[in-house]
Amino acid sequence: MIESLIGFAILLGLILLRVPIAFAMAAVGGFGFAFMRGWEPAWAMTGQVAFDTSLSYSLSVIPLFIFMGNVLAGSGVAHGLFAGADRLFGRLRGGLAMASVFSCGGFSAVCGSSLATAATMSKVAMPSMRRFGYDDRLATGSIAAGGTLGILIPPSVILIIYGLLTETNIAKLFIAGIVPGIIGVLLYLGAVMVAVRINPALAPEEENTEPMSRSDVIGVFCVLGLFLFIMIGIYGGFFTPTEAAGMGAGASILIAIALRTMTWRSFYAATLDSIRATAMIFAVIIGAELFTNFINYAGLPDALSGFVIDNELPVWAVILFIIATYMVLGCVLESLSMILLTVPVFYPLMFELEFANELLLDPENALIWFAIVVVVATEISLITPPVGMNVFVLKGVLQDVSLGTIFRGVLPFWIADILRLTLLILVPSLSLWLVGLM
């Protein structure tokens, strides 16, 4: 128990010294395990984990969904989404910011990655907002926050990883993410309205919406068609979620070919981007596996369950504690590392405590609901200072905007997120309603 806490402390120290998170986790996990069980077992574990982790059928969805998102990003369909959303909201004050949020939600429905969504939409939406004199705070805030929608609206790489960690049905996790994702979009739209009402200087009074070009319309149909293809494929029983990734990637290549917007060069670049992102994610998964093996052996999950049971802590206190943990960790870590590090610790707790009974949910639904809550909690961390990955991505793209500006611009959306998290915790049926219809 105490070893785990020391391990966590050293891990955070290494991360602050700029050691890549994956390598920091692997090192602390390996040394921690060696300290507790000896060198031979630790060496054996290192080789076994490094090799076996990548040899996995289910994890093949990661490169495939990422590839699908990157090809679509390169094929320019995001521009059509933005133009379409602008037609919807253009007449309202802050219309372009709403269009950004809305099209972020739309693009994330075919992209598994939050950061790819933020990077893509910043390129599409930022120039328009600049041209019409939007305040940088609102402009960047809406894109950084809009990008976080991507990990809840299916397909979602994070939900897949949660499903594999907890042996939860991925098709059910995906469908559970839809309503909370839509609530997220609606609350973000509300956040823009409130923000411009409070401070009208954030957005111009007038902005003329441009008509959609033919390619914009085609782009919207491509995204819509691909989303339906994936959803009908999975829920109509034509292919499994794992296969959906490969089919979706294949379909996105066909879209790129049909649209003729990608050059060979940009297609190859999108491929290499996907490949490197894959290795990055697997490095994190391998590191987290080593670290959680150490934490597991040191008995942290058991100690936590024991503590809760011995003290007869009520469910709400435990949930509050878990959320608080995510808020604290979220200051330093990003979603993937957080999910990989914490879910193995918290998930046995959910089992041991018969949480399901107290929540009036069956155990499988409890795990699905917990997934949504956890993912939203980590989503918030993407825009929480000091380390908000989506904010950083935007900062990388828009060199002339300061980090402080983006973090200030994100504030209304951050408040909307907290509201959504509270709603989702208090009303589990928001997440489980569609699952029940399956």
Binding site: M45, A171, F239, N296
Partner: protein, 317 residues
């Protein structure tokens, strides 16, 4: 001195084997050694299921269990006796016979290098489930796409004319409900455990099971040697045949639940017709002969062992 052992368990925490066999056994160890040896079941496995044998041998965990067929090399050749058809009508009889024969005349401990062999067992009799047709003649096998766990049953099914596919057991539900496969070989418990009752229409039984899978439970050898002789004897008394009975009971309970769920779902459960059993017998005889020859090189009598295991398990076929 006190010995604290960590057991890595990869089955879901509520699986009957974990709840009714592994955890009770862990408690028994503590009781029979007056607390000098304790076994802690870890909250999360220390590696993927197939790695579990090596994990015990290399000391990543102290105690592990798993399937011999996870290991695709030739380490556990003699364990294959438990995979054949007609091995046991229930998991208690089958497991006890498998322990006695494999650990006795077939010297299982020698194949479990680097570990102390604590338990050997099989699950309930294997069945053939499908959702296309009732198998009444040997021709009915052909064209069926059947998921198999590999090994003997894979050869048997393709020998009978079916197409065999391999995938992890967790994938079976998705593939069966989407028509990628027509059927699967599983014991009764898996019908309930993997929620297959809605997608299966016919379940065929064969005396003693159409196949089985063999399981081990092992402890790291160095850890075992740390334990006093007195405590070792106490642990051995609750392991081996006693553990085979304990884990067998757990399987039987799970099989009963699966059987009830199958009946409730209206699945047609039937005994294989004589013609089909004969076809299986002739296929099985070839496979058994090939296996017997393979182990005879090391001086083991496979045919006698098969006769013995079937006699002990009380299978008539």
């Amino acid at each position: 001195a006190e010995t604290k052992l960590a057991l890595s368990s990869w089955l879901p925490p509520r699986h009957p084997i974990v709840v009714d066999a592994i955890k009770p056994w862990a408690k028994q160890v503590e009781e029979v050694t007056d607390g000098r040896v304790t076994v802690r079941v870890l909250a999360k496995p220390m590696g993927p299921p197939p790695a579990h044998y090596d994990m015990a041998a290399e000391g990543i965990a102290d105690i592990t269990y798993g399937l011999h067929s996870f290991t695709t090399d030739d380490r556990f050749t003699r364990s294959r006796i438990g995979q054949f058809s007609f091995i046991g009508d229930d998991a208690v009889a089958g497991s006890k016979a498998f322990w006695n024969v494999y650990s006795g005349p077939l010297e299982a401990q020698k194949e479990h290098e680097g570990t102390k062999l604590l338990g050997l067992f099989v699950h309930g009799p294997g069945l053939l489930h499908n959702n296309v047709r009732k198998i009444e003649t040997t021709d009915d096998f052909s064209g069926l796409k059947i998921r198999v766990p590999g090994g003997y049953i894979s050869d048997l099914m393709s020998g009978l004319g079916s197409t065999t596919l391999f995938m992890s057991s967790g994938e079976v539900y998705e593939k069966l409900s989407r028509g990628v496969i027509d059927g699967v070989t599983f014991p009764f418990d898996a019908l309930a455990a993997f929620k297959l009752t809605g997608d299966v229409k016919y379940t065929m039984k064969v005396p003693g099971g159409i196949y089985n899978t063999t399981w081990f439970m092992v402890m790291n050898e160095d850890k075992w040697n740390e334990i006093s002789e007195e405590d070792q004897a106490a642990i051995e008394a609750i392991s081996g045949e006693a553990f085979a009975a304990l884990v067998g009971e757990a399987w039987v309970g799970a099989d009963q639940k699966g059987n009830a769920a199958a009946e409730k779902a209206g699945i047609e459960i039937y005994e294989a017709p004589a013609e089909v059993v004969d076809a299986i017998k002739s296929q099985a005889a070839d496979a058994e002969t090939a296996w017997s020859e393979a182990i005879s090189a090391d001086g083991y009598d496979g045919a006698a062992a098969l006769e013995e295991i079937r006699k002990q398990a009380g299978v008539e076929f």
